[in-house]
Amino acid sequence: MTQVETDKLNELNAFMEQAVQNEHSDSYLIAVLHKVQQLYGYLPREVMDTVADKMQIPTAHIWGVATFYHYFNLSPIGKHTVSVCLGTACYVKGAEKVLDTVKKELKITVGQTTEDRLFTLQEARCLGACGIAPVMMIDDKIYGELDAKKTVDIINQYRKAEKQNAEKQS
């Protein structure tokens, strides 16, 4: 195990140790899974096993919870997460077209990750930027007043940045 991995596990274990001391410790499962996702980007199976053991919660229960909530990723995600807002305000202003454009451009559907592991596509229900609808969010940054062309341009910016990064490193 690398140092990074050990650190992650230690942090998670410390978090769980605190949780199990509380009354109704089972109820902290979702908080623990949030922590796992924060550390690993998704919920790896071995880590869920660790959680089960430490929290004394049956793995089936954890799996039921992990799959119920759409916030949790069950497989590794891409470097950038593209969330297209499908809130009503965005829908009325053409969010479907934005989503279709992204799908076509990345050749994946919602919930999938591109082959190069650069992008994961997700839908969002209202990002709270209704004033500049339709919007999408890439990682933490919100892009508003989108149309097909603007959407593609934005995605290409990320691709270009990645390419430049790669060139720099090599």
Binding site: I30, Y69, Y71, K93, G128, C130, G131
Partner: protein, 605 residues
């Protein structure tokens, strides 16, 4: 000061005067005042002034009330004799008449900085949002300076728990999460239940697509929610509160955490609050992306660390809630009203609004309307006032088609319902619901079948899967709607939708399922013709259902080739500088040619 406008390099200050036109003010000759004011302004030839009448501003003892904006200067007990001075000094010379101004002691509106933005704010009344956009939400000092935690101090100093409940009952406040259950009664039930520990929960799992009132409230004024909860805990005898909030709201979570830390440091949270023997603390629990967790039993399961699936009621959470203990659940907006109810009194609160619905309601106004945003209006305000006066009407010269309230649980009201008042009963009677506060304005470019499909898609996606009607029924409804929008609708489909919708409404386990068919049923009721056109004539009048569209290039085409380049299907032919043609067989109706044409030569039908 006389040359203030010049100094400020403002072209012209446009003064907007708001005259309270509530019953008490009318009794105090506000009508006469209006005439005098009008005459005086004309007399002195003051330009750029408009007079607005507002509903009761809730300050009857000091009426008639006149508010001058920009600046939000409030004059109270205004008499006809005062008018000339106000007009000359304030409107002409730019110098407010200090002698006549009043500083209101009510919590709401005191620091209401609407400035020049009178159109948007003029008809609003801000109770929930009283501090939003006013104070620094990350600084408890700001909250304290606007009488923050004073309601809590009042409660702890001279109110017994039952007094608090009585005050809430008196206020007529009803749950702002959607169903409108009387808040005071809910408190009373929970207070009466005896079963060891009790819990107070703030439901901040706002999930309606297009609704962001709760986020706005917490981000703008987190302490008011905490203060409401602490008061609730005191009233029902709970020691612990939980805020269940969407993980998708990181900023709101951060501000809430910061507010809790500050409140703890100041002794508003934790052991022996404000030196009394009342102890109460609050914990944050995150949701993880499940709309159904807004339903209270599902929310409880989620806090307990399980799949957020609802369970049959009774028993109600007031009797057996979190960890099987009596639990009081209210949503963010409801909690934010509590400090106002306590400080300004239940009587005052119940003077605002209609017979059955008291106080104000926050809406997230969005869609095809000029001013989108978060608005708060007194109950009884009409939809027309919100859309046209506050929202500024429909942009781009389009026609209003419908107003959607209540999100995926609500309905679509067509134009003839524009004068419907905002209150629980009137909206329900019109065929929609109050809901948690989403309000989407829809213009003629939106297809109502498509909109119904959008909402069913949402509920289908968010259905927890526990009960048959919602899990299987909404799926079938979605399939039928999908085929209608694809031009594959069959005769009898509308009846099938109605039959399924009716059954799902009456048979589902929880509120999500019970209200899931509403957007479909209300659009069928109000826009049946559109459904029929889709099914029988294969026509979408809004031009939104791609499968029924055909794109053609008209005479305006100059042969620039932009459409040809953008077409992903290679369906456009034409030599340079000659009129282009679309091959309907190849066309995939993506609409990119339509979007890209600078000469409006592409038309869709």
């Amino acid at each position: 000061m006389a040359d203030l406008r010049k100094d400020n390099n403002v072209k012209e200050v446009h003064y907007k005067l708001t005259l309270c036109d509530g019953p008490t003010c009318i009794h105090n000759q506000s009508k006469q005042l209006h005439q005098v004011l009008d005459a005086e302004i004309k007399n002195r030839g003051v330009q750029n002034v408009s007079i607005h009448l507002s509903g009761c501003l809730g300050m009857c003892k000091k009426g008639p009330i006149l508010i001058v904006n920009p600046g939000y200067t409030m004059y109270g007990n205004v008499k006809a004799a005062d008018i000339p001075e106000i007009v000359q000094s304030h409107l002409v010379e730019g110098k407010p008449v200090a002698r006549l101004t009043i500083i209101e002691d009510h919590l709401y509106n005191r620091f209401f900085r609407i400035f020049g933005d009178v159109d948007f704010f003029g008809k609003q009344m801000r109770i929930t949002l009283r501090n939003c956009g006013i104070i620094d939400p990350e600084n408890i000092d700001d909250y304290l300076s606007v009488r923050g935690y004073e309601a809590l101090a009042k409660v702890l100093t001279n109110m017994k728990p039952q007094d608090v409940i009585a005050e809430v009952k008196k206020s007529g406040l009803r749950g702002r999460g959607g169903a409108g259950f009387p808040t005071g009664l809910k408190w009373e039930f929970t207070a009466k239940a005896v079963n060891g520990d009790k819990y107070v929960i703030c439901n901040a799992d706002e999930g309606d697509p297009g609704a962001f009132m709760d986020r706005g409230t917490i981000e703008g004024d987190p302490h008011t929610v905490l203060e409401g909860m602490i008061i609730g805990g005191y009233a029902i005898g709970a020691k612990k509160g939980i805020v269940y909030i969407r993980a998708e709201y990181p900023l709101a979570i951060k501000r809430l955490e910061k507010a809790m830390d500050a409140a703890r440091q100041c002794g508003f949270l934790g052991k022996n609050i404000l030196g009394t023997d009342f102890s109460f603390d609050i914990e944050i629990r995150l949701g993880a992306g499940a709309f159904v967790c807004g339903e209270e039993t599902a929310l409880i399961h989620s806090i307990e660390g399980s799949r957020g699936m609802p369970r049959p009621r009774p028993p109600f959470p007031a009797v057996s809630g979190l960890f099987g203990k009596p639990t009081l659940i209210n949503n963010v907006e409801t909690w934010a009203n509590i400090p106002v109810v306590i400080l300004d009194g239940g009587d005052w609160f119940s003077s605002i609004g209609t017979e059955t619905s008291k106080g104000t309601k926050v809406f997230a106004l969005a869609g095809k309307v000029r001013n989108t945003g978060m608005v708060e209006v007194p109950m009884g305000t009409t939809l027309r006032e919100i859309v046209y006066d506050i929202g500024g009407g429909i942009p781009n010269g389009k026609k209003l088609k419908a107003i959607q309230t209540g999100g995926p649980s609500g309905g679509c009201l067509p134009e003839q319902y524009l004068d419907t008042q905002i209150d629980y009963e009137s909206l329900a009677k019109a065929g929609s619901i109050m809901g948690s506060g989403g309000m989407i304005v829809i213009d003629e470019d939106s297809c109502m079948v498509g909109l119904a499909k959008f909402f069913i898609e949402f509920t289908q996606d968010e259905s927890c899967g526990k009960c048959t009607p919602c899990r299987e029924g909404t799926k079938r409804m979605l399939e039928i709607l999908t085929r209608i929008t694809r031009g594959e609708g069959r005769p009898g489909d509308i009846e099938k939708l109605e039959r399924l919708g009716g059954m799902i409404k009456k048979s589902s386990l929880c509120g999500l399922g019970q209200s899931a068919p509403n957007p479909v049923l209300s659009t069928i009721k109000n826009f049946r013709a559109e459904y029929e056109e889709h099914i029988h004539q294969k026509k979408c009048r809004a031009g939104q259902c791609a499968a029924m569209l055909s794109y053609t290039i008209g005479e305006r085409c100059v042969g620039c080739g932009a459409c040809k380049r953008v077409c992903p299907a290679g369906a456009i032919e034409g030599a340079r500088k000659e009129k282009h043609v679309i091959d309907a067989a190849k066309c995939i109706r993506c609409g990119q040619c339509f979007d890209v044409c600078k000469f409006n030569a592409v038309s869709k039908a």
